[in-house]
Subunit: 367 residues, 2 copies
């Protein structure tokens, strides 16, 4: 029996993720007020707050400045933004307004597959009616949540009692509507009493590992150590890492994976040391239109993210400081591409799939 | 004709390294005052200043807190500390004092081979007389400088016009008495008008690349980009890196290399993408007593170096800020070990040597 055909057990028995014992989703939509609510991830881990956007352009800005980030969370938010646009579009200019909104949303984070997936779907629904757009946007968010829950159910089969997992960046519930992708199997293992241990790459330059992943795991009571990105291979050499699980921002039909910059280094090192390397992602991350990762557009972000960093000073105030030699330039690619041959398997809501088998799931019409 | 037997050309035609057009060495010894002078590397790149130590224990402290760091600079400083100890030792307790000093110095940075090399030599000299200790300590510093200059002469043969070099951490002149190891071929290439271009890994957690390497290269007018450590494999994938050159803190007789944490990841990625990976180091870095890298003691440093970082705030003042999720622990190994099989060659003052050929240079008595 292949993993793909295994029934998803207990998919409906949600144990949603918590912040200080209270349940939150990363993003949610109030259709009565046409408002999008987001956990403001730029405040984390030092402060916790919700950002509310009332127009699609504000929602796009929140994606751009990474108030919300992570594959599924960006996707759901982009879907909500498209629904907001449908609700606010003037009747006399409805289709033009939708087209402009679609373009604006798509330009916010060019590498994020889930964004395009959600915008396409909600755009088509919006052509029928704003109400339709809202329904489809809500469905996409619900689908994201269920997929992540299923990824946890399948992925936990790869873990043993006390497994030591390396992860890169944040592919936890903050990167999705709930549950997460790479961390969903870890949360499921913890619920089953398997005491997983996580090494969290700090993930320069934006430190999503040291900030978001560490914060999430702390809130769930899971043991972890933050490591400099440089230390992962050393830990593999010491045989202290049993498995690597990361997320994905876009996956090509041949199994190539775009994910946070540095993922490629982890994958190459894992292969070198024979450590299994898994990518966890819902099907909405798969881009069947791209033959390989070479087709992907890789976002380059502001070099200031490398030269400057914010943190808490001795008085507990957030300060931004310059950490590089003044006058030097930096280069800041947001993602890299990991070749399918480096990926042991892709953990999806349909089971664990070999990257080269992805193609058999392509239902898109033959050109 | 092997590279090893090639005569060292123009070894005496020094073009020493400069800070704002003025020549400085990283460390120098005033034997009249029995004082050691050090460029305070904890001030760089935001400020420039000289620290002077009057007793060997102050010099040891400067090594510990990394006022001075880098293989050769640590070695020379440790030799000077041993000479200081010999000069300040009371006659009635001379040998005991020397033994205690040797132990204290050796405990400051356990992975640094050059430190043990210098301390051993100066200790033996000190057993004859303080004056002898001073002479040998000065010789070691001079030898370091000449070796680095020769490394530049040999290493430049690996570069072409416009070569794009990736380096990790700082193995420039700040890491030695002068010239540097990994950067010495780059400086020589620049002098010859070859316009080298350097990608400098920022080198978390202490950011020696973003701070010291960038500062050095800026002072010498060499083009560079600082990159997050995570971006190196992506640049190799893009075929934007022609060669990797790094330094070393200790090299075993089988060619295994201990160097700054993260070096191992670069070496594995370089092999994956068929990019030549060179280690530049004087013979004083080679530990013929260690069969392999598994014998090395790897220093673990304070996790605060991962969780906190200092930089310039908006007012131009140095501030330390916490950058990780409060309550999370971090792991901070200072070095990793790169297996000889990953190293294309070792650039030394005797020529460029295959790691497996190192053993033929072992002159130590057979046990």
């Amino acid at each position: 029996m292949s993993a793909v055909s295994t029934a998803i057990v207990s998919i409906l028995k949600h144990t949603p993720m918590k912040v200080k014992q209270q349940h939150y989703k990363t993003v949610w939509y109030d259709s009565k007020l046409n408002e999008v609510n987001l956990i403001d991830q730029n405040l984390l881990p030092f402060d916790f707050g919700i950002k509310t956007t009332q127009h699609y352009t504000e929602t796009v800005e929140a994606i751009k400045i990474m108030t919300v980030r992570g594959a599924g969370a960006i996707g759901a938010t982009a879907g909500f933004a498209m629904a907001q646009a449908a609700c606010e579009a003037p009747l006399e200019d409805y289709v033009n307004y939708l087209n402009q909104a679609k373009l604006t949303i798509e330009q916010s984070r060019p590498t994020a597959r889930n964004l395009f997936y959600a915008v396409d779907k909600v755009f088509l629904a919006a052509l029928q009616s704003p109400q339709n757009a809202v329904e489809v946007a809500l469905e996409i968010a619900e689908e994201d949540e269920l997929s992540c829950k299923a990824i946890g159910q399948y992925g936990v089969s790869l873990l043993n009692q006390g497994s030591r997992i390396l992860t890169h960046c944040n592919a936890g519930w903050l990167a999705f509507v709930d549950f997460g992708s790479a961390l969903s199997p870890v949360y499921e293992a913890a619920r089953r009493g398997m005491k997983p241990f996580v090494y969290a790459d700090e993930t320069r330059p934006r430190l999503q590992g040291a900030r978001l992943t560490a914060w999430e795991l702390n809130n769930e009571g899971i043991d972890l150590l933050i490591i400099p990105d440089n230390a992962a291979a050393y830990l593999m050499w010491q045989k202290k890492i049993d498995i690597v699980i990361v997320g994905a921002d876009r996956i090509a039909r041949n199994g190539d994976v775009a994910n946070k910059i540095g993922t490629l280094e982890k994958a190459i090192c894992a292969k070198h040391f024979n450590v299994p390397f898994y990518v966890a992602a819902p099907f909405s991350t798969i881009d069947f239109q791209s033959e390989s990762g070479s087709d992907f557009i890789i976002e380059e972000r502001n070099p200031n993210e490398v030269s400057h960093v914010s943190g808490l000073d001795a008085s507990g105030n957030l300060q931004e400081v310059q950490i590089t030699s003044p006058g030097s330039q930096a280069f800041n690619p947001a993602f890299d591409i990991t070749a399918a041959e480096l990926v042991t398997g892709i953990i999806t809501e349909k089971g664990i799939i070999k990257p080269l088998d992805l193609i058999s799931f392509d239902n898109s019409p033959t050109l």
